[in-house]
Symmetry: C2
Subunit: 312 residues, 2 copies
DNA sequence: ATGTTTTGATAGATAAAACCTATGACATTC
DNA sequence: GAATGTCATAGGTTTTATCTATCAAAACAT
């Protein structure tokens, strides 16, 4: 049994097609066929049923493929250990980030990061939490930046900071007169929400305690695709919306007048780096963690006066 | 990186000597040298300091050797998965068993076992619990039969049965007149104990609540090497001792008169199969578990009226 | 039904590697 | 300073992984 055989085995399981799996492994189809056969001979069991189209793993094949994936993951850790020990921060890393963080958090640390670690090839994708976790589990991402806690025991969370929710409202709103607002001050019919799929949507419904009513009476059908759109809606059509703290960074003076913080304990979301429990690329992830924390204000790093709102 | 290289690496760490490690791997010293070098080149780090004698792993070498051991263990599981799936019970298994169980438990199931599974090469060694756990952790044993709970989180325990402690005493003892005895009935000065190292010793001291006094006043200096010796001592010199239930199996009628059970809840020990958390040879161990349970009376398989005594 | 395409297996040649024997370099010991 | 112990190196041999070319069977299309 060789690592190469295990790679071919896993590729064949992924593609369910000898030629495609072989191409993915940068070898010819007979090479991959032979090695899979050799492995089957060595173990004394058929791993794939080739009579089916596409080929499917046998019952025992499934089990062995699972262990093969584990072995390949653990073998990749050896290079990880070396990188970490030498302080080498290099290689490709695939990062997923949710849309309500991406435009505000990425500009803060990304420039620094790519300048400081020129050997890292960074691939960032914007995804909803659900898509992100799914890709993480399929090993199509190395790390994610999402709102936690997720309660998924395959996933490790490194909390980065706590971000307050704040209200953004037009002069025409009653609550505009108040210095600090309460969830009761928010008129459900005036509330602009993001469309389904964004985790922030569920949290805002939780803040406003609209969970149950929501399903029955839904007389707000205003659903935006981004935080920036929400702001524009309030500015053009009046009403109220709820924004995460980092999105306030580049408001104009006039816009700032429309911001109202909540009464303490203010609703807050926990933002974390998340990765598979047995994750790789430790040194790059560690570097990224440090770089993010460097640009986050101290007071956001602990949740002192906030109340973390549960997810959807 | 190949599995063979990892094997050589681990062997070199074990023997700290190229020629010996090579011999252990059934190759010549240059072969092993070359492969270790190739691995070092591939990873870009020196794994061993060859200037020392014996050779020692470098700091990073230690980390990588640890991961290599994990990889080899996990790779061995692949054949384990095949064996289990096919119901093959074959191969070598190294079993450790404590001396207070060995002479009573082994004869009960071993004959059956080796007849039923002729392809298993069984190696049984009698060891104290401490020695056994140490060998298990060094991968010099596959499974142990000991008294639990051990409270060692590297180890998995499969409880097999609950064995009562009973008193064995001479006619001259006061307690001989009673039908059931209590721990108070045992005269510490008349008590025969096994020498240090046997886990049963600590349990008996716990039963008799002699723990604290023990260290100060120890006017019993009678320490036997085996359960059988304890019986002889009582028979020849009088006094009392405490035996595990299975050792009563082949007492003569006369000897049986000297047995007294404890009042319920009677002191009991839990006997378990123990193995490393990530153990191998699942199918053999499973077979052994079944065979042992087959020869143990039903009533011993649950701890109904007993009180499990803590270890040492 | 028959020709075409797709898919995986097989055969023979080639390139890469793992391994062996023999020997060299260096340090330690007597 | 010769002998010994230890690991590295060199050159040749065997083994193995891979490639190209081709075959056989099944699926698909005409």
């Amino acid at each position: 049994m060789t690592f190469v055989q295990l790679e071919y085995l896993v590729a064949l399981d992924t593609y369910r097609h000898f030629a495609m799996a072989a191409e993915n492994c940068c070898v010819t189809q007979p090479t991959l066929s032979m090695q899979v056969q050799k492995l089957e001979d060595e173990l004394g069991v058929k791993l794939f049923d080739r009579s089916k189209q596409p080929v499917v793993p046998t019952e025992i094949g499934e089990l062995i493929i699972k262990q093969a994936r584990l072995l390949l993951r653990e073998s990749a850790k050896i290079k990880d250990i070396v990188d970490e020990h030498r302080g080498t921060v290099a290689g490709e890393i695939r990062v997923g980030i949710i849309p309500t963080l991406a435009p505000y958090l990425l500009p803060l640390f990304l420039d620094n990061f790519i300048k400081k670690y020129p050997q890292v090839k960074l691939k960032v994708i914007e995804l909803t939490t659900e898509q992100l976790i799914s890709k993480l589990n399929k090993d199509l991402l190395d790390v994610g930046i999402v709102v936690t806690p997720l309660q998924d025991d395959r996933i490790t969370e490194f909390p980065l900071f706590y971000e307050e929710f704040v209200a953004y409202l037009s002069e025409s709103e009653k609550a505009y007169q108040k210095e600090f607002i309460l969830s009761e001050d928010i008129e459900p019919n005036h509330l602009w929400l993001l469309e389904e799929g964004h985790c922030i949507r569920g949290q805002i419904l939780n803040i406003c305690e609209l969970r149950k009513q929501n399903s029955h009476m839904r007389n707000f059908e205003y659903e935006a695709g981004s935080i920036e759109t929400l702001k524009r809606m309030v500015e053009h059509y009046g009403g109220i919306t709820i924004l995460p703290e980092l999105s306030l960074r580049d408001l104009t003076e006039k816009q700032q007048l429309q911001v109202r913080h909540f009464h303490a304990p203010s609703p807050t979301r926990e933002v974390s780096l998340v990765m598979l429990r047995h994750h790789l690329k430790k040194s790059i992830i560690e570097a990224m963690k440090t770089e993010i924390l460097n640009v986050i204000p101290e007071k956001m790093k602990q949740n002192i006066s906030g109340k973390v709102i549960e997810l959807g």
